[in-house]
Symmetry: C2
Subunit: 296 residues, 2 copies
């Protein structure tokens, strides 16, 4: 059994799904949850996701050999600080934050000699629904988990976190912190901003009810991510500000190319852009089908 | 039987699906197709979508009592011109173009005394795949079809086109030409531009293969429409230029609000925008579930 006592700090969609997966694979003897809201935590116990819970971080991590931080990014620094003095000598700590630079900075500022056992991580999986009720054991199956190990990290701690994610069926890969944040700004954070901006734009138009009535399946797909948790996405934007703003500027240039081609009746450029984009998107579909047999 | 001889001008996804639906409901005695490519048309005959085909518009429409124009917008004017002198006295003509202003202009310039029998239409249904191979009989089932009748239209012609679409299971509604083009610019044409721009932006980044590798399900949903037919979308952009540019400007303002909030670390505004957008998107999900029981 890989883990004796797993502490899930933040028992929501991601934390809950990880606990479910490890329990299902019988790789985890007991699970303790930490959260602020006893109603949610009681629900998590009732659902069999955790065995028990604590309302203080200190007692949640005290006897754990694996601690997973799965709360909004904004809370990272405070929670690492709060657990720091209660971590066991061999306890491994990891997180699931969607931006890694700010997490690593917080870890460096708070963890002291526990830093070698803190492995920054990010599972590329999710749903629009949040909360432990939405958690499922196969959330990470055939999905990528990115770890961004630090030069100070112990090989043993890295190995334990890698194994933990592999047990869930995930494909674990490693990136630099900066690489991760630049790539995720482009593939995830930017699309969320565009979806939020589009829905906000349409909702602000006169007769917006009428407008939404005529939206088709393409619109539904395109804007599904605008139903994601506002607080979580607020935290991600602030945490990954630099790379996100740069991705936004980059996007603006490409949108402007399209706009100018339309303004100038420049059929040749317009067709060239659309054809190039379709080719890239079709290529993406083919390679993601190779990687993951599950429906997108 | 509603239709004796149906002429499908452009036997692709939309034209083919309409023919399939009408045949399945036994509301159409025979179907003749027109197209440029005999290989595609042979395929359409083989698939049972059409009975026969012609490589000239004139002979395709000659004995038809219903003519459906389902080719890219760019060809509308030329094809209406080419069929004009071969239309029967009672033949009803309709189209499926995604922008209506340019179609109506072309019809007014070419159709002369056939104009009362030309009913502009637009089924809000589609797939990324194009071509007759992708056509299915239930493509329009529980989807909206918008008709934008002209003051000159005959009541009888409008009734026939309405009935034709109702037979496919569609919910037929009427809008003004300008209303249609403004609404579709916002809900369909703009999202396609954003998806094309995003994919083009990512494909142009260094290590773009690496970048696409880490894209998750949200990205796949968001960019699915960038796999749509470039020629078709080129034509839509040019045809609906005015409303599309205005929707792009409107979107820009909303994206800028988000950008500025991120730049200024303005948590309050950021949370407010995301929360407002999520509320509108959740509301859209609820109302589209009410309208259409099929998955989005």
């Amino acid at each position: 059994m890989l883990i004796q006592r797993l502490a899930i700090i933040g028992v929501g969609l991601i934390g809950g799904s990880l606990a479910r997966a490890l329990r299902q694979k019988r790789q985890c003897r007991s699970v303790v949850g930490f959260g602020r809201n006893p109603v949610h935590l009681d629900k998590a116990v009732e659902l069999g996701v955790i065995d028990e819970y604590s309302l203080t971080v200190a007692s949640a991590v005290r006897d754990a050999d694996m601690v997973v931080l799965a709360t909004p990014l904004d809370t990272t620094s405070r929670l690492l600080q709060a657990m720091r003095n209660y971590l066991g000598r061999d306890t491994v700590i990891t997180d699931v934050g969607s931006a890694k630079g700010s997490v690593v900075e917080a870890a460096r500022n708070t963890l002291g000699d526990c830093l070698p056992r803190f492995i920054p991580g990010h599972p590329i999986a999710g749903k629009e629904q949040s909360g432990v009720e939405a958690s499922v054991a196969d959330l990470f199956d055939s999905h990528r988990v990115i770890l961004t190990p630090l030069p100070e990290n112990s090989v043993q701690a890295l190995e334990r976190v890698t194994k933990m994610w592999e047990i869930t069926g995930a494909d674990v890969v490693q990136l630099d912190v900066e690489q991760h944040d630049e790539i995720l700004a482009a593939t995830s954070h930017l699309p969320h901003m565009l979806a939020y901006a589009l829905v906000d734009c349409l909702a602000g138009m006169k007769d917006s009810d009428e407008i939404f009535r005529f939206a088709a399946g393409g619109f539904a797909d395109f804007t599904r991510i605008a139903s994601s948790d506002p607080q979580m996405w607020h935290d991600i934007c602030i945490a990954n500000r630099q790379y996100l703003l740069s991705a936004l500027n980059h996007f603006d240039q490409h949108l402007n190319n399209i706009r100018q081609a339309i303004e100038n009746d420049d059929s040749k450029s317009l067709l060239k852009i659309f054809t190039r984009a379709k080719k890239a998107r079709d290529q993406f579909t083919r390679s993601s089908n190779r990687h993951n047999d599950a429906p997108e």
